[in-house]
């Protein structure tokens, strides 16, 4: 079976692409870990157009319901993760080659085009101790796990929106919250910052570079350095939340498409095209500067329509059939 399109991921970009491809009656496969994308951990999304307020989980449900409405056109493989993609050797006479994707369940799927909407994942600190104490005091989802740090002294690394929001999540539970920021000021929106100002238990540490997470069975502390004075310091901690941005999930198409130094897939944003014909990309995995649900959905639509046009063109005669040299 050769699909017209395989969509990788079901956040706003992948889900929007699936709906549009289904309505074009293209045989589509959606391979994803889950629906909803990164904002599934958000308590309250207030900028999804048409919804004044919706939780990440409910938005994910809406995506899933919408895509599942088109069961005849869209096959869904979930939970399943794509691990690699490759181009299949062109058969003689074919104008374009197919793609093959391999998954963590050792399945292989073949498609004429790919829509890469694999999103991004939490960026890690990559310092000693982080992997050892992952889940053992090192946490990446404050919405989920903040209450478990009741009565503890904790640190949050990262002074962007996510970091400051983690501090807000921890305020009712932790006895002391250190917020470590590498630069000399916070990057979070002013409105978000205001919520943690003048709170006795919050201490903001600027110019801080994390060095090592300390612990035995569980986290007991953090070693960091003031990058201005080069002085090393230790904090005694019962937990640590990491909120330092995201890393694009682009490894699966490495070698096929051009990727920038941040790991983002370079797209021609007019058509959501990548550097490789037949591969389209949308959402947080791309170099689009605004990582937003609404934008990802719109770019997913672009990718779907471009994939559709690409497939229409494939149906035209190949150069070989026209008697021209095709190799």
């Amino acid at each position: 079976m050769i699909y017209d399109v395989v969509i990788i991921g079901a956040g706003p970009a992948g889900s929007a692409a699936a709906v549009y491809l289904a309505r074009k009656k293209l045989k589509t496969l959606l391979v994803t870990d889950s629906f909803g994308g990164q904002s599934i951990v958000s308590d309250d999304i207030q900028n999804w157009i048409g919804e004044k307020s919706i939780s990440g989980v409910d938005l994910a449900k809406k995506f899933e319901e919408h895509v599942r409405f088109f069961t005849k056109e869209v096959d869904i493989k979930m939970p399943e993760k794509v691990v690699s993609t490759k181009e299949i050797k062109c058969e003689k006479g074919r104008r374009k080659c197919d793609f093959e994707i391999k998954t963590d369940k050792n399945n292989k799927y073949r498609a004429k085009t790919l829509v890469v909407a694999s999103g991004a994942r939490h960026r890690k600190l990559n310092i000693p101790g982080e992997a050892d104490f992952d889940g053992k005091g090192v946490a990446y989802c404050s919405t989920c796990d903040a209450p478990l740090f009741n009565g503890r002294e904790v640190a949050v690394v990262g002074g962007g929106n996510a970091g400051v929001e983690a501090v807000i999540d921890l305020l009712p539970y932790a006895t002391k919250i250190y917020l470590l920021q590498r630069g000399k000021k916070l990057k979070a929106d002013k409105m978000t910052q205001d919520e943690i100002m003048n709170k006795d238990k919050v201490e903001i540490i600027f110019n801080a570079e994390t060095l090592e997470i300390l612990g035995d069975k569980m986290v007991t502390g953090l070693k960091y350095k003031n990058i201005k004075t080069n002085k090393e310091k230790k904090l005694k901690l019962g937990g640590l939340f990491v909120e330092i941005g995201s890393v694009p999930n682009s490894e699966i198409v490495k070698g096929l498409v051009k990727i920038d130094k941040f790991g983002q897939i370079i797209v021609d944003s007019k058509y959501s095209k990548t550097s490789h014909p037949g591969i389209f990309a949308a959402g947080d995995v791309t170099d689009d500067p605004y990582k937003q649900n609404n934008i990802s959905a719109g770019d997913g639509v672009k990718a779907a329509l471009s994939a559709y046009n690409y497939i229409i063109n494939l149906k035209k005669k190949s150069p070989c059939e026209e008697g021209k040299d095709c190799y």
């Binding site: 889950s34 599934i40 951990v41 989980v57 989920c144 796990d145 903040a146 209450p147």
Partner: protein, 78 residues
């Protein structure tokens, strides 16, 4: 029927997903809110060796996170 316990917090999206999934499959479970019960929070940490929710305990089999495949396997459902 196997006894299923879920350790969760009210704000955790993956907890909600696990609970929705089990309800959908008509599997009964006991839901423990570890944000209000410190003893149970410690019990969860002891059982799972980690501090993240959700933790699903299916008659002693401990599953962390919303791991649909594992839950299906342990419960023998699909």
């Amino acid at each position: 029927m196997k006894k299923v316990i879920i350790y969760s917090t009210p704000t955790c999206p993956f907890c909600k997903q696990v609970k929705d999934y089990l309800s959908e499959k008509k599997i009964e479970f006991e839901d423990i809110d570890v944000s209000v019960d410190q003893d149970k929070a410690q019990e969860m940490i002891d059982k799972s060796g980690q501090m993240g929710v959700p933790v699903v305990d299916i008659k002693g089999e401990i599953i962390t996170g919303f791991d649909k495949d594992k839950i299906n396997k342990v419960l023998g459902i699909s």
